[in-house]
């Protein structure tokens, strides 16, 4: 029957060491080969599409079988190829929010939420349902069908249905991608509030880099079936150890900055780069004065000039020297030392027109809105 054990008080860690080979019709076979652990709290599983994120979640939830390895939550082994343990999905006590949400269309929100609670006594069931519906602000929708509520409300109902069973781990497969930023933010706040009371490991899949910084306490970068890096988002994505993480992160340039001045009427603030003389004009965000912020700039968003530009609206003009030029496919990657060093992408045509060589003096032009404040 419904063997979901009660969530223990102690924080548990999810340990995943699995190998799974996926046949790929025409192309080469794909192998998922990972070894990582997820502590209680939010862990972002970040990777491009096709990196194996959904397959990994399916294996943890028990919907797909790894070829080998071991999956455990706390002391409980969910899968172990050596001892032959393979707990079926209905006994894993894993909350898994599928991308499609998979709310039962023939049931009301209340019936959906109750679905995982049939093993409980009536009073306990009603108590839990009331509590979770209130937590996710959908108490008034209890009598409606999924087709009769909005997209954001459906997400809330699906989260409530998954969490009301008090799972020992939670897997979220891009659950909020379809929502606008405001709706998403409110749902995330409610989810965070719930997580503060129930400390369980949460794997949150996304390929949206903004969500990594917004949500993550911990980020796991998956590429081509392998974990490339794990740690704090800032550490992993700002000091990318590999080219692919930098590409995933999308910010080839990430700087720690202080906030030295706010220009409220101009909508900007001045942020000196820590350890250097240069400073950046970035969009105004709500931070305390003297608080540190991290600013990301995509290499393709930076303009390169061969003489000091005049008559521009761009607020950031930095003078520097080209230290290296390297061409990859149709992109020329220039490293320009402006103290600090910037990475700039330009086209081979642009390189030719500017006549830049290693050692050339150049000016970098960066729009305020190309500077992304990451926290």
């Amino acid at each position: 029957m419904n063997g979901a054990p009660p969530a223990p008080q102690a924080e548990e860690t999810l340990c995943v060491r699995i190998r799974k080979r996926l046949r790929n019709g025409s192309g080469p076979d794909f192998t998922l080969d990972t070894d990582f652990s997820v502590p209680a709290g939010f862990t972002i599983l970040f990777g491009a599409s096709g990196a194996g994120k959904t397959t990994l979640l399916d294996c943890i939830a028990g919907l797909q079988h790894p070829d080998g390895g071991r999956i455990a939550i706390g002391e409980t082994v969910l899968f172990d190829s050596i001892s032959g343990v393979n707990v079926p999905p209905n006994r894993r006590a894993a909350g898994y929010l599928l991308q499609s949400l998979a709310l039962f269309p023939h049931m009301t929100v209340k019936q959906n939420v109750d679905y995982g609670l049939t093993h409980l006594e009536r009073a306990e069931r009603e108590h839990r349902r009331r509590e979770i519906l209130a937590s996710f602000r959908i108490s008034e929708l209890a009598g409606r069908r999924p087709s009769e509520v909005s997209g954001g409300e459906r997400q809330r109902a699906a989260l409530a249905r998954a969490l009301v069973t008090r799972p020992r781990l939670l897997l979220l497969d891009e659950p909020l991608t379809a929502l606008d930023a405001a709706t998403k933010g409110k749902i995330v706040d409610d989810l965070r509030a719930w997580i503060r009371r129930h400390r369980i490991p949460i794997l949150y899949v996304t390929h949206n880099r903004d969500e990594v910084f917004a949500l993550g306490e911990n980020v796991l970068v998956l590429e081509a079936g392998r974990v490339l890096a794990q740690g704090f988002p800032q550490d992993v994505l700002s000091r990318p150890r590999t080219e692919s993480i930098a590409q995933l992160a999308g910010f080839e340039n990430i700087f720690d900055c202080e906030v030295s001045a706010f220009h409220i009427e101009q909508g900007t603030m001045t942020c000196p780069i820590v350890g250097f003389a240069a400073s950046l004009e970035v969009p105004l965000v709500r931070v305390d004065p003297s608080q540190k912020v991290r600013v990301g700039i995509r290499a393709g968003d930076i303009l390169l000039g061969s003489s000091s530009p005049k008559g521009l609206s761009a607020r950031n003009v930095l003078e520097g020297t080209v230290t290296s030029l390297e061409q990859q496919d149709v992109t020329v990657i220039a490293r320009v030392n402006c103290a600090p060093e910037f990475v700039v992408h330009l086209t081979p045509g642009g390189r030719h027109a500017l006549q830049v060589e290693t050692g050339s003096r150049v000016w970098l032009i960066i729009k305020t809105y190309s500077c992304h404040v990451l926290q």
């Binding site: 419904n2 919907l63 999905p89 898994y96 599928l98 499609s100 998979a102 679905y115 995982g116 249905r161």
Partner: protein, 222 residues
């Protein structure tokens, strides 16, 4: 005469569609979800009665349940009478003959239930059995209903198989369609007209009811 044949036909159709509901559901479920590579073989087997002449099916069933087969002998030793030319024999033949009409709509509607809903059900702790009753069956209801009504209507109108297996014994194996044939053979066209009209109306009312219900409940098949 008509009343007797009509009651016998209805009794046969009710029993057959009830049996097909019970055995059709698991067969359809298996056809819809099995990952067995030889599934196409089973699909062909189930669909066979659609294309097979009723006389062919009836002939083999007659042989299989007759006193020369082990099954027929076993049944005779158990009940004291043979299956051929009996009501029970008719039931067996009709179940086989109407099997695809029950199974195909059921299997189609099982297959149309979103797999992720089944996964969601399991992830919420439900057993396979509970998932079937609470998720699959309610969502596949239009197909299950269609399959049951079609097998009922198909049994009402069958002729060849009944004639082969049951013969033409009033009160035991004479269904309405056999009676019509009998009346025409006797050149009693007026009586045949009455009987035929009755069967026509019955089938029409039944199908109207089915489609009306589906529309009313929003059960249009996708």
């Amino acid at each position: 005469m008509i009343l007797q044949a009509l009651m016998l036909t209805l009794r046969l159709a009710i029993i057959v569609s009830a049996i097909l509901l019970v055995i059709g559901l698991p067969v359809a479920y298996w056809l819809a979800y099995s990952r067995w590579r030889g599934r196409f073989f089973a699909e062909a087997l189930v669909s066979l009665p659609i294309v097979l002449p009723p006389t062919v099916l009836g002939f083999y069933v007659l042989v299989a349940i007759g006193p020369l087969s082990p099954f027929g002998r076993w049944y005779q030793s158990l009940t004291g009478h043979g299956l051929a030319f009996s009501f029970e024999g008719l039931v067996i033949g009709s179940v086989l003959y109407s099997l695809p009409f029950a199974v195909q709509p059921m299997a189609a509607s099982f297959a149309s239930v979103d797999r992720e809903l089944l996964e969601a059900s399991a992830l919420l702790g439900a057993s396979g059995w509970r998932t079937f009753w609470r998720v699959v069956l309610p969502l596949a209801m239009p197909g299950v209903l269609t399959g049951t009504v079609l097998s009922f209507a198909h049994t009402l109108g069958e002729f060849g198989v009944v004639l082969m297996i049951g013969g033409n014994i009033p009160g035991a194996t004479q269904t309405v369609s056999i009676l019509i044939y009998d009346q025409v053979q006797a050149l009693d066209y007026a009586a045949a007209n009455h009987t035929a009209l009755l069967l026509l109306l019955l089938c029409f009312v039944l199908l109207t009811g089915l489609y009306g219900l589906r529309r009313h409940r929003g059960w249009e098949l996708r």
